[in-house]
C-alpha cells in the first residue's frame, strides 16, 4: 500500500465527506462505548489481569533474547523450522522460498497485520502464486483491493451494500439475481467459495497472537475458524510473527487471553483459541507436514532500545482504535499507513520514519481514552507526545505553528511582558467583538473560527482585576 500519512488532513477531509463511512464509524463508537462497562464488569479480576499482563510483557521484553531462543529450541524440538528475518524484504523472500521449495501454487492466508506490514500478498502474487485471504473481512478487502482499516475488524468501514456489490462483481459464476441483502447471504456465499480454497491450498500462512517460549507453540484466535483451516489442511504451515509476540509460558498466554477478546470485540473469548506446536505428529491423521515460524524484526529492536519500548506490549486488540474519537471521525485509512488510530500514531513513525508520519501523533486531542482502555496499559498519549518532541527537534511541523509557539513561549517566561501583551490583545479582541460576545472571524486565528465562534474576552485579566480588588496580595 502507498504510505500517505503526510496527507492525513486531506485523507481526513475525504473521510468526513463519506456518509457511508461516517455511519459505520458512528455505529462502531456507540457499540464500543455501550459494551465496555458490561464486558469488563463481568470479570471482576480485569484490572488485576491488566497489571499481570503488563508484568508478563515487561519481563519478557527485558529478557527477550532468552525467550526467543527458548521458543526456537522448542519449535525445532517439535519438528518445525525457525527463520529469523531482519526486515520486510527478508521475510518476503524467505516465505517465497519456502513456497517454491514446497512446489506450491496456492496459498491460503489467515489474518495477519504483520503480513500487511511487509506487503506479502502482492509480492507472492507477483511471483506467480495464487493467494487467498480466508478471514471474511480480509477476503472482502482483497476483492476490493483495499487494506484493513482496523486491526481486528478489517472491513468495519464498509456497508453491506458495498460488500454485496463486490460479491456480485467477483463471484461471476453465481446467479446475478440471487439475494444478497442480508449479511447471512453473503457469509454463506463466502463460506462456500472459501471452502474450496481451504481444501486446495498448498501452503497456509497465519499470523500468531502469541508465541509461547516454554512449548514452542503459537496461539491463534479467530471467531471464524479460518485460522484453523488455514493451518491444518495445507501441506505447509507458515507462521509470520514479530519478535515481541513471545511470552514465556502457557499460563502467561492464558492470563493474556482473558483480556484479549474482551478488549478486541467485547466477547468473553473468541470461538476458537488454538495452541499449535509444530507440524503433524507421526500418527496424526491430519495436519501440515511442514511447520515454519518466521520471526520478524522490522523495527522492533529499535523500539526496544528507546523510549518507545512500552508499545511492544501491544497485543493488537484494536481497543484503542475503537475508543478513539479521532479514529471515530475519520476511520483507519486516513492515517495513511498499515495501522491507524492511536496505535498507528505511535507505530507508523517507527515503521515508516517520523519524517513520513509526523502528522499522526499530532492528530490527537490527548483525551486519553486509548490508554484508559488498552489492556496492556500502553501510555499511548505519552508516546505520541514523545514523537512530537522528536518532530519538533527535527523541525518537521509547520513553520507558522513553530514560530507562534516560540513567540508565545518567549513571552510566557517574561510575566510582565506577557501581561502587557495580554492586556493589549484583550483590548483588540473586545473591539473586534464589539461587545457582542462572539467573534465570527479573528485575524490569524482562522483555524479556530473555521468551525466555531470565538468567545470574546470579558474585560480585564483576572489577575489584574483581583489585584485591584485585593490590594496587598502576593506581589510577584
Amino acid at each position: 500500500m502507498q504510505q500517505t500519512s503526510l496527507e492525513f488532513s486531506q485523507n481526513a477531509a475525504r473521510a468526513q465527506a463519506d456518509a457511508d463511512l461516517q455511519s459505520a464509524l458512528a455505529k462502531l463508537q456507540r457499540d464500543t462505548r455501550l459494551a465496555r462497562p458490561v464486558i469488563t464488569g463481568r470479570l471482576p479480576e480485569f484490572e488485576d489481569l491488566r497489571d499481570r499482563a503488563v508484568a508478563i510483557k515487561n519481563h519478557t521484553l527485558a529478557n527477550l533474547d532468552h525467550y526467543l531462543e527458548t521458543l526456537e529450541a522448542n519449535v525445532i524440538d517439535a519438528g518445525g523450522h525457525v527463520h529469523w528475518c531482519n526486515d520486510a524484504g527478508d521475510a518476503r523472500e524467505t516465505i517465497l522460498q519456502i513456497c517454491s521449495d514446497a512446489g506450491a501454487k496456492t496459498v491460503g492466508k489467515g489474518k495477519s497485520m504483520v503480513s500487511e506490514e511487509i506487503a506479502l500478498n502482492d509480492y507472492l502474487i507477483a511471483n506467480g502464486l495464487d493467494v487467498v485471504e480466508t478471514d471474511l473481512g480480509e477476503y472482502i478487502l482483497q476483492l476490493r483491493h483495499e487494506t484493513p482499516s482496523h486491526v481486528v475488524m478489517p472491513a468495519i468501514h464498509l456497508k453491506k451494500e458495498q460488500i454485496a456489490d463486490t460479491f456480485r462483481e467477483h463471484h461471476t459464476m453465481l446467479d446475478p439475481a440471487r439475494p444478497l441483502d442480508a449479511p447471512r447471504d453473503m457469509t454463506e456465499e463466502a463460506r462456500t467459495r472459501l471452502r474450496e480454497k481451504f481444501l486446495s491450498a498448498d501452503v497456509g500462512i497465519t499470523g500468531a497472537n502469541m508465541l509461547i517460549a516454554e512449548t514452542g507453540s503459537i496461539v491463534v484466535v479467530t471467531n471464524e475458524g479460518n485460522g484453523d483451516l488455514t493451518q491444518t489442511l495445507p501441506r505447509v504451515h507458515i507462521v509470520i510473527a514479530a519478535i515481541e509476540k513471545v511470552v514465556p509460558r502457557i499460563d502467561d498466554a492464558l492470563s493474556i487471553l482473558r483480556i484479549l477478546a474482551r478488549s478486541a470485540t467485547g466477547q468473553e473469548i473468541t470461538c476458537y483459541t488454538t495452541f499449535a506446536t509444530g507440524p503433524k505428529r507421526p500418527d496424526d491423521l491430519d495436519g501440515p507436514e511442514e511447520f515454519h515460524l518466521i520471526l520478524l524484526d522490522n523495527g522492533r529492536t529499535k523500539l526496544l532500545e528507546g523510549d518507545f519500548r512500552d508499545v511492544l506490549r501491544c497485543i493488537r486488540c484494536g481497543a484503542c482504535q475503537s475508543a478513539c474519537p479521532v479514529y471515530g471521525a475519520v476511520g483507519g485509512h486516513a492515517y495513511g499507513g498499515v495501522y491507524g488510530g492511536p496505535i498507528g500514531a505511535v507505530l507508523t513513525p517507527a515503521l515508516d520514519g517520523i519524517d513520513k508520519a509526523w502528522p499522526l501523533p499530532e492528530a490527537s486531542s490527548f483525551c486519553g481514552n486509548c490508554e484508559a482502555v488498552c489492556p496492556m496499559r500502553i501510555p499511548l498519549p505519552g508516546l505520541m507526545r514523545r514523537w512530537r518532541d522528536i518532530a519538533h527537534a527535527q523541525k518537521l511541523n509547520k513553520p507558522g505553528a513553530r514560530r507562534g509557539l516560540a513567540l508565545w513561549a518567549w513571552a510566557a517566561q517574561r510575566p510582565v511582558l506577557y501581561r502587557l501583551g495580554a492586556r493589549i490583545a484583550l483590548r483588540v479582541l473586545r473591539l473586534l467583538g464589539r461587545r457582542r460576545g462572539f467573534l465570527r472571524r479573528v485575524p490569524l486565528e482562522g483555524d479556530w473560527t473555521f468551525a466555531r465562534d470565538l468567545p470574546a474576552p470579558e474585560g480585564g485579566t483576572f489577575v489584574d482585576r483581583w489585584r485591584k480588588e485585593n490590594p496587598g496580595t502576593t506581589p510577584s
Binding site: 486531542s365 514523537w387 516560540a406 510566557a412 462572539f438 468567545p455 474576552p457 480585564g460 483581583w466 510577584s476
Partner: protein, 257 residues
C-alpha cells in the same frame, strides 16, 4: 496545620484572559470552604502548549517558573483539570532529571488540585449555597476525568444546588475536540467531534452545559453559537459559587475593564 490553609489560586491562562468571573467564583468557593486565597500575580500558564507541541525545553522553563511561584502555599488550586493535571502529573516527569527542581516539582505536584475535587476530597466541604432552577447537563473534561479521576465530585456538589435539574449526556466522557492546539491544527476533525458533543447536549434539553475546564467550554460555546443553538455554557464553579449572574460564555461584555 493550624488556621486556615493558604491556597495559591492558579487561575489558568484561559480564565485569566477570557473569563475572569471563573477566577472570582473559584476564590469565593475556596474562601467559603475555609481557605485563605492568594493569586500570585506573575502567573502566566502551566506550559501545556509548549509541552504538547514537543517543546520540552520551553515547557520545562515555564514549569520551573510556575513552581517557584506556587511552592510556598499549602495548596495550589486551579479551576481546570488539564492545568491541575499538568502540574500534578507532568511537571515531575518533565523535571525528573533536574537536580534542583525534581524534588520541588514533586512537592508542588503533591499539593496541586483541581477545584471541585479539592473542595470535596481535601476540604471535605459541600456547603453549596446556590440556586439554579433549570435543566443543565455536564461534560466531563478529559484530563480531569482520566488523569485526575474527577467524575463524581462535580455531580456531588451540583446535587446541592437548589432547583438544579442535571440531565446526563448520553456520552459525557467523550472528548469534545478541544485538545489545546489540536482544535486549531485539525479544525475539521475537531469540528466533527464538537458536533457530536453538541448533538448530545441539545438532546438533553438542557439550557446550560457545564464543565470544569474553560478550554472545553469555549470550544463548545463557540460551536453552539456557530450552529445558532440557544444552549449556554458556563464553568461549573460559577454555578456552585452562586455567582453565575453575568452573561454565559460568549454572552457579551461584563462591562468591567
Amino acid at each position: 496545620m493550624t488556621g486556615r490553609p493558604r491556597v495559591g489560586l492558579f487561575a489558568t491562562c484561559l480564565v485569566d484572559l477570557y473569563r475572569p468571573s471563573v477566577g472570582f467564583a473559584t476564590a469565593s468557593l475556596l474562601q467559603k470552604a475555609g481557605c485563605d486565597v492568594d493569586v500570585p500575580a506573575a502567573q502566566v500558564c502551566c506550559g501545556q502548549p509548549a509541552y504538547n507541541a514537543g517543546d520540552r525545553r520551553n515547557a520545562a522553563a515555564i514549569a520551573r517558573q510556575t513552581i517557584g511561584l506556587l511552592e510556598n502555599f499549602d495548596y495550589v488550586v486551579a479551576p481546570s483539570g488539564s492545568c491541575a493535571g499538568m502540574l500534578r502529573h507532568h511537571y515531575p516527569e518533565l523535571l525528573a532529571d533536574d537536580p534542583e527542581f525534581a524534588a520541588r516539582a514533586r512537592a508542588v505536584a503533591d499539593r496541586t488540585w483541581e477545584l471541585v475535587s479539592f473542595l470535596t476530597d481535601v476540604c471535605r466541604w459541600s456547603d453549596i449555597d446556590a440556586r439554579w432552577p433549570a435543566r443543565v447537563t455536564y461534560h466531563d473534561a478529559c484530563s480531569g476525568l482520566r488523569e485526575l479521576g474527577i467524575r463524581d465530585q462535580p455531580r456531588q456538589l451540583l446535587a446541592k444546588v437548589d432547583g438544579l435539574d442535571l440531565r446526563e449526556l448520553d456520552a459525557p466522557d467523550v472528548c469534545c475536540g478541544f485538545g489545546g492546539t489540536f482544535c486549531v491544527k485539525y479544525p475539521e476533525v475537531s469540528g466533527a467531534m464538537v458536533d457530536h458533543k453538541i448533538d448530545d447536549i441539545v438532546a438533553t434539553g438542557a439550557a446550560t452545559v457545564l464543565s470544569g475546564d474553560l478550554g472545553c467550554l469555549m470550544n463548545i460555546a463557540g460551536r453552539l453559537s456557530r450552529r445558532g443553538e440557544s444552549v449556554e455554557a458556563r464553568h461549573v464553579a460559577e454555578v456552585l459559587a452562586g455567582t453565575a449572574t453575568g452573561p454565559a460564555i460568549g454572552g457579551g461584555d461584563t462591562g468591567k475593564a
